[in-house]
């Protein structure tokens, strides 16, 4: 018997999590909105059946689904259930990859179709979250299998005939890692379906999609090429930021966002025990344009150094008066704290280090942002809304995003 990999994908996960605590939502058309209240970031199958799609603004969804019920996302709650699911899957399998908040790969060696169904049922009984499960010879096949069984399906795609059926007529962009650009390239060579992809010449796939594409080819043909990552590989970059909600050109609000994103970045650097030697600021403007600037730093994870560097980057990439909609701070050239070379010019101010440490301890004890930089005061509206304090990037340990 060859190696078997399982893939578990929670069905409309955010909606299912809301149904766990609000039972009256069972069977209803439900849409989960992002923090701005504008776009649908997840929807139930009932809402999907009415033509509502992910990313659709609520004002476009309403005419399609006037009786739909809208809820604000709550990532912190979704993580609680995600971790419970992870724990249960770990009790079934010796090796589990925490792929994303609602997806996991696991070693399914020796797992029969009945075992896979038992896992699915146990998850439903113990978390009330329905999941779809796929078991196959490789990660990519297992993911296609679970996706083909949605919702609440359990597809055991080990027999050759089942695998062939799975790949037949399935559009090639259903393969994880084949995006729009890759699909267009493949289509120009007559590769439209997963079956076409699996049957194509391996060297052609490598030429078109590099080694990543070749790995997918092996995986689709039942030879594992992608490892099961039970721990996350080290980050090359860490990024914090996102939409500013209401676009702004007010310097004090932009400074507030810089302080907020810097504090979040410092938290992530501390969590991963790394320093950064490079900082990039990326801005998206309301008129659709964007700008970014980068600077080198002495290895640091200190708030003050990163905040001051960010202010300099803002001055370099923001034409005063232009409305800013998005801001990202990206820490690059990450080095583990053990490996960093001691510098004469590094984070040497003991008072600053002590104040960072005190801030960290208080926030660990009293909750995130219980103590924060005074520069964030103009963003009081953002901090008052508790759901802003937790984002999907704050769910650590995932191997995907």
């Amino acid at each position: 018997m060859g190696r078997h990999i399982g893939h578990l994908d929670a069905d409309c996960f955010y909606v299912s999590c809301e149904r766990v605590r609000y039972r009256s939502l069972q069977g209803q058309a439900v849409g989960v909105l992002g923090n701005q209240g504008a776009c649908i970031i997840a929807k139930s199958y009932e809402m999907k059946a009415r033509g509502v799609t992910t990313g659709m603004p609520i004002w476009d969804a309403l005419p399609l689904c006037p009786d739909g019920i809208f809820i604000k996302r709550d990532i912190e709650w979704y993580e609680v259930l995600s971790r419970r699911i992870l724990e249960i899957v770990r009790s079934f399998s010796p090796a589990v990859e925490y792929y994303s908040i609602d997806e996991m790969f696991f070693d399914a060696q020796g797992m029969s179709p009945d075992d896979a169904k038992a896992l699915q049922q146990r998850l439903l009984n113990q978390t009330a979250v329905p999941v779809s499960v796929g078991v196959a010879a490789s990660k990519i096949l297992a993911k296609l299998a679970s996706s083909s069984g949605k919702p609440f399906g359990c597809v055991y795609a080990v027999e050759e005939a089942v695998v062939r059926q799975l790949l037949h007529d399935r559009p090639v962009d259903k393969i994880t890692g084949v995006g729009r650009g890759s699909r267009l390239k493949l289509e120009s060579y007559g590769i439209h379906t997963c079956e076409d992809f699996a049957q194509a010449d391996r060297r052609l796939i490598r030429r078109l999609l590099t080694k990543r594409g070749e790995d997918l080819w092996w995986e689709l043909n039942g030879t594992p090429a992608l490892p099961l990552n039970t721990t996350r590989t080290a980050h090359t970059n860490l990024s914090r930021g996102g939409s500013l909600g209401i676009a702004t050109a007010a310097p004090e609000r932009l400074t507030g966002w810089i302080a907020r994103n810097t504090e979040r970045l410092v938290e992530a650097l501390d969590h991963h025990c790394v320093y950064c030697e490079q900082l990039t600021m990326s801005l998206g403007f309301k008129d659709g344009r964007s700008a970014s600037q980068q600077t080198s730093l002495t290895a640091t994870a200190g708030f003050q150094s990163l905040y001051l560097a960010s202010l300099r980057l803002l001055a370099a990439c923001w034409p005063a008066g232009r409305l800013v909609s998005y801001m990202h701070l990206i820490a690059g050239k990450l080095t583990t704290r053990q490996n960093v070379q001691r510098s004469l010019f590094g984070e040497s101010d003991p008072r600053q280090l002590a104040s960072d440490r005190v801030k960290q301890l208080i926030n660990q004890w009293h909750g995130r942002f219980a103590i924060r930089s005074g520069a964030t005061l103009p963003l009081d509206d953002i901090y008052r809304d508790v759901t802003n304090s937790y984002d999907v990037c704050d769910v650590y340990g995932k191997t995907c995003f």
Binding site: L62, D67, K72, D385
Partner: protein, 155 residues
């Protein structure tokens, strides 16, 4: 603001449900029925927890021009705090709801809504829903600049 609320049928005692059969609605086939209370209903009413009792009272004062009660269904929290309702001796009440309706958008309400109960000239109780300036989220979702004061977590 919030022009309507819904709550599951089993949230009300059977006798109250029987008295308000016309409010029972099935939102989605195969799901539990719910009761809807809309300000535009022939009789605008709201379920209310007053003391330890759950009852259904008039929702503000929509039609009675002769009454001393304000001709609205909502009470601004700011005006309540400024004492402008003091002459009516308002009592705090909770309005049980699991969903609210504003400009066609049904949104989830985790626990319920805060309200006040005042009495008219005949000592009959009327309930006003408390409102506050809308959060950015609520404003974008419903396109309204006021939102109900919710019990528990704000949105």
């Amino acid at each position: 603001m919030c022009f309507g609320i819904a709550l599951p049928m089993d949230a009300l005692p059977e006798n109250l449900v029987l008295q308000h059969q016309q409010r029972v609605v099935l939102r989605e086939p195969g799901t539990a029925r719910e009761l809807r209370f809309l300000f535009r209903d022939p009789q605008a009413e709201l379920p209310t927890w007053h003391g330890n009792q759950l009852a259904i009272y008039s929702w503000g004062n929509r039609d009675d021009k002769g009454s001393r009660l304000p001709r609205t269904g909502w009470c601004r929290q700011e005006s309540l705090e400024a004492g402008r309702w003091q002459y009516l001796h308002p009592e705090p009440v909770d309005i049980p709801a699991i969903m609210g309706l504003e400009k066609g958008v049904w949104f989830l309400i985790p626990e319920g809504i805060r309200g006040i109960l005042v009495r008219d000239e005949r000592e009959l109780p009327h309930v006003y829903m408390l409102t506050q300036p809308a959060s950015h989220y609520y404003q974008i979702m419903t396109r309204h600049d006021r939102m109900p004061v919710l019990l528990g977590q704000q949105m």
